[in-house]
């Protein structure tokens, strides 16, 4: 069960966004009528965009935690393009877009300026997609981590370059079809043995806080962001955000897909402090990876014309390994 809600309210469900039987301050930020909607209506994201959802979840939580004293720096990418096409912006917070590869560094600069101007109560978020984080922005990200700059970096991971038309990134999972890893040839889709695990690399920098989160688990996500934003030093939160366009999933299924990723073990939810895993969110109802993959056309070649047992076996093995490594099947409250 969700460790962060001691009382179980049944009809209202432990896992729903709201809960009329909880005290207001125990409810999720998204349930609040006064939530800031940091990313407001009118943005040009696709129907059912997981990134737009994840960004609002995260920033609203950060806004509440900081009493609206927040500045965000954004890398180039879908989030940036769909949110700020002249003459309109969907952001309700101070927001800066510089380049694709420098969000972390720009945020470091903002943090330095706020410090030197005695405004350290204003907290800084840098955010970008997986391309801007795990690939082109990686140098600046690592530098920011290494200097332990006072920045919370949030990566919205939709596992490919969606803004440019779904090309492979170092976050693209095994066998996934993208425009640059087409589903042709003897080994269709993304190659095996590739890709980068940035949360773990972040941990290797020994920074104060690293966490993974999913749009499928709002309360877990809000808790982590609210926690991260108030810590001093470099923090990293990696949020799994399905992309209906790039993944070939139904817009209505965005959360369902994200949930399957978590429940299958393919996307483990955990927290780490100073390089040590200190908490994980256990799986509630384990599902085979098929349940996740079948919802997405980018994996269709694994099931037709004939089932690719070898590849599916590899993917299931990844999930199984995660479940063991992170102890995801324990129902005990990992956070004690």
């Amino acid at each position: 069960m969700d460790p962060r809600q001691p009382v179980k309210f049944y009809q209202t469900g432990t896992f729903t966004v709201g809960n009329r039987l909880l005290d207001t301050d125990e409810r999720s930020v998204q349930a609040n009528m006064e939530r800031t909607n940091s990313l407001n209506s009118g943005h040009r994201a696709c129907q059912g965009c997981g990134e737009a959802l994840g960004a609002r979840y995260a920033l609203d939580a950060a806004m509440r935690a900081t009493d609206n004293q927040l500045v965000a720096v954004n890398a180039t990418g879908c989030l940036e393009v769909f949110s700020t096409p002249y003459p309109e912006t969907s952001w309700q917070i101070p927001w800066l877009h510089s380049l694709f590869g420098n969000a972390a560094a720009v945020a470091s600069g903002v943090a330095a300026a706020l410090k030197v101007r005695g405004r350290e109560h204003v907290r800084v978020i840098a955010q970008g997609g997986d391309g801007g984080t795990t690939d082109i922005g990686f140098g600046c990200l690592s530098g920011m981590f290494e200097r332990n700059d006072d920045v919370l970096y949030i990566c919205y991971d939709n596992e490919a370059y969606m803004n440019t038309g779904v090309q492979r990134s170092s976050a693209t999972p095994l066998a996934a079809r993208t425009a640059t890893t087409p589903a042709v040839g003897p080994h269709p889709g993304a190659e095996s043995g590739r890709g980068k695990n940035v949360p773990v690399i972040a941990m290797a920098h020994n920074i104060p806080y690293v966490a993974t989160a999913s749009v499928a688990n709002l309360r877990d996500l809000e808790e982590k962001v609210a926690r991260a934003i108030l810590i001093r030093g470099a923090r990293y939160v990696h949020i799994h955000v399905p992309c209906p366009l790039g993944w070939g999933s139904a817009p209505a299924d965005t959360i369902r897909v994200a949930r399957a990723a978590v429940e299958s073990g393919l996307f483990p939810l955990y927290e780490a402090e100073h390089g040590e895993v200190t908490g994980r969110t256990p799986i509630r109802r384990r599902v085979p990876v098929d349940d996740y993959l079948k919802l997405q056309r980018r994996f269709a070649h694994l099931f037709s014309p004939k089932r690719d047992d070898a590849r599916l076996g590899q993917i299931q093995a990844i999930a199984d390994r995660n479940i063991v490594n992170y102890g995801l099947l324990d129902t005990e409250d990992a956070r004690g």
Partner: protein
Amino acid sequence: MDKPFAITLDPGSSLANRTGSWRTMRPVYVDRLPPCNNACPAGENIQQWLYHAEGGDYQAAWRQLVQDNPLPAIMGRVCYHPCETACNRAQLDEAVGINSVERFLGDEALKRHWKFDSPKQESGKRVLVVGAGPSGLSAAYHLRRVGHAVAIYEAGPLAGGMMRFGIPTYRLPRDVLDAEVRRILDMGVELQLDRKVANVLDDMRAGGFDAAFLAVGAHIAKRAYIPAGEAARMLDAVSVLRSMEGEDKPMLGRRVVVYGGGNTALDVARTAKRMGAEPIIVYRRTREKMPAHDFEVEEALAEGVLIKWLSTIRNVEDGGTMTVEKMKLDEKGFPQPTGEVETLEADSLVLALGQDVDLSLLDGVPGLKIKDGTVQVAPNMMTGHAGIFAGGDMVPSERTVTVAVGHGKKAARNIDAWLRGREGAAPEKHAAATYERLNTWYYSDAPKTVRPLLDLARRTSTFEEVQKGLTEFNAQFEARRCLSCGNCFECDNCYGVCPDNAVIKLGPGLRFQFNYDYCKGCGMCAAECPCGAIDMVPETT
């Protein structure tokens, strides 16, 4: 701030961009009929009173409940709760313990002396209700609520009908029954006991009644011809149970054979057991075929009642020795004699072969149609004679307390309509809230809470109530297991999961509204609605 052109923009200005124009499917909020409500013979809005109960507002829950059923404490004990059989949660883990929560609310109401509201204004009409059984009381209550003057003529010495004379006290303590009857009478309902109606028309005329509701219970035991000597002690179930209410308890002896397989048969057997006898039930078919409810059979067996399946009684001799013939079911499932017999020693034989209603009060009433010992009624419960309605055991239908209460309510609505010269159409029913429409992920796992049972020793020796009530905690827990199938319970999911902030939260109790200016029609709200209260419908263009 002196903002540079185009590069720097004012916050939230994208509101000018109405993304609603992207939409091809539009989400709409719907309300659906939950299976519990649909299955309840009394038409209780169960989900609604559970909603109040889970919040801890028991009085609101109770008031909601008695909108449909004035006898919750009784229902919570004797109802065979078809609602739980229909409950969607049964497919997730176990059905919600609706009946136990209902009993908790009923008892809570008695404990706190909550009263029914008296009618706002009097209609000036008078209605005669014949029979103070569940359906009569229910009708009286509902008629009174809408302002009619109601008089109940009861042939028996006490109100309650079959609830009193058919149900043993270990299932329904009489103080509970009396209290709930009293509460109805307190509304200003007139009750005349030992007032048998010989001819309904005469009584209506005499009493100046504008309409009548006939709700006479089935008190006459069905007989079956069994050759027996004079000395053989043969009784019928109804009178045995009835006599339990009076001073002189029936003389049954030690070895009691009960003949029949209905709930009444079990009631008698278990009653006998409590009087120190050793009851044996003889039934001609198998346990599966037994009309009695399984949980009652279970309880009876647990209490030491013996049951002989596939057996018929051929004859009874003076000594009390009876010949029992083994039966077997033919392919059609009907029992056929095998010729194979055995004997059984018994001090008394109780026949529990069903009951009939005394319809003599209808003699000479024109327009009535009577078939198989029941009065035929129109869908609005009115008999062939204008102004005379009937329900409960008198009309063709299952004979349970809850059905009777339901009849009373339905009849009352129609009588009221008839008196006011309107059509008494029942409110339009919503489409069913099926299990497939639920997103059960959002309901955390919660096993049903079992009502504590009185331990066996005491059950078989006393008439103490077998089943105890829930503690408040358990009742609330149970209420919270409700999935709110088909109706928004303000979980905020749609409000939360919309990537376009296109759901407007209206505030506690006011639910939500879609903001079609920005809704792109992705359908995530519908997909993530736990209770299936959102439909996606094509945009009409």
